[in-house]
Subunit: 167 residues, 2 copies
C-alpha cells in the first residue's frame, strides 16, 4: 500500500513539475504584435499583472516541486512535505484563477466595461497563453489531488492514534 | 490543548462565515451607473463572469462553513471536516484570486490591451466591490490558517502512530 501510494504521489509530482515547466515556458515566450491604424500593438505576458503573477507563481511552485521530489525519497521529511504541499496547492490555485479571469476578458472582452477582446488581433499570443493556462490547470489539479491523497492517508485510522476531539 | 484548539478553530470559522456573508452581500448589491456621452453606463457584478464566480463561490463556502460550525461540535466528523476544509480553502482562494485580477483592471485599466479603468465613472460600484474583496480575502486567509492548523495537529507525533513512509 505504501509503495502504491509512493508511485502514485510521485507520478503526480512529476506531472505537476512538467506542467509548471510548460506553463512557465509558454507564458514567458508568449509574444505577438498587430498593426492597428498604423500603430504597432504588441502583446506579451509582462503587460498584464495577472500573467506576471502566474509566471512567478508557477516558477516558484515548479522549483519547490523539483525539491519535493528529492525530499520524497527521505521519509523523515513527509510531515514537512504535507505542509509545503498545502502552500503549493494554494499558490497554484491562486495563479491559475487570476490568469484565467484575465484570459477570459482577452478572449471575450467585456462590453459593459468597454473592454474589447484582443485575441482576434494577436492570435499567436492567445494560443501560447492558452497552452500555458491548460498546463497551469493540470499542475493545480495534480497538486490538489496529491494533497487530498496525503491528507486522506494521514487521517486514516491506521495512522491516527486518537480522534482529534474538538470537544 | 484540545480546548484551545477548539476555541481557535471556531473563532476562525466564525470569522470566515462573517467574511463570506459580507462578501456576498456587498458583491450582490454592488451597483452604480454613469452618464457617458448621453449613454447610461451601468455597472453591476453580474456583468463580469469573475465577480459572478466570486459571489457563487463565497455563497457555497459560506453555506458549508455554517454547516461545519455545527459539525465541529460532533467529534466523530473531524476527519470529514479536514477534507471539506481543504476543498473550501481552494474554492475561497480561487474566487478571490479571479475577482482581484479583474478588479485590478477595473481600477488601473490595461493600456496595452486598450482596456480603460472604470472606477472613475462608477466609484460606488468599485467601493462596494473593494469591501467584498477585502471580506473575501479575510475568508480565504482564515480558512487557510484553519486548514494549516488542522493539518499540523493531525501530523503531530501525538496523533500519528507511524511515519507515513514513502520508501
Amino acid at each position: 500500500m505504501a509503495k502504491v501510494k509512493k508511485i502514485f504521489t510521485n507520478i503526480l509530482r512529476f506531472l505537476a513539475l512538467a506542467a509548471t515547466v510548460v506553463a512557465v515556458v509558454f507564458m514567458a515566450t508568449s509574444h505577438d504584435s498587430a498593426q492597428v491604424l498604423n500603430l504597432t500593438f504588441t502583446a506579451k505576458y509582462s503587460n498584464t499583472p495577472a500573467f506576471k503573477y502566474f509566471l512567478i507563481a508557477e516558477a516558484i511552485a515548479g522549483g519547490y516541486i523539483a525539491i519535493s521530489i528529492l525530499l520524497s525519497f527521505k521519509s523523515q521529511f513527509w510531515r514537512l512535505l504535507v505542509i509545503l504541499d498545502t502552500f503549493t496547492t494554494v499558490l497554484l490555485t491562486s495563479s491559475i484563477s487570476a490568469a484565467v479571469a484575465i484570459a477570459q476578458v482577452g478572449k471575450k472582452g467585456n462590453t459593459h466595461a468597454g473592454w474589447l477582446p484582443v485575441c482576434g488581433q494577436v492570435p499567436d499570443f492567445c494560443d501560447q497563453v492558452t497552452i500555458a493556462l491548460i498546463a497551469g490547470f493540470v499542475a493545480a489539479i495534480s497538486y490538489f489531488v496529491l494533497l487530498l491523497c496525503s491528507i486522506y492517508v494521514v487521517l486514516s485510522p491506521i495512522f491516527v492514534k486518537l480522534p482529534l476531539s474538538e470537544d
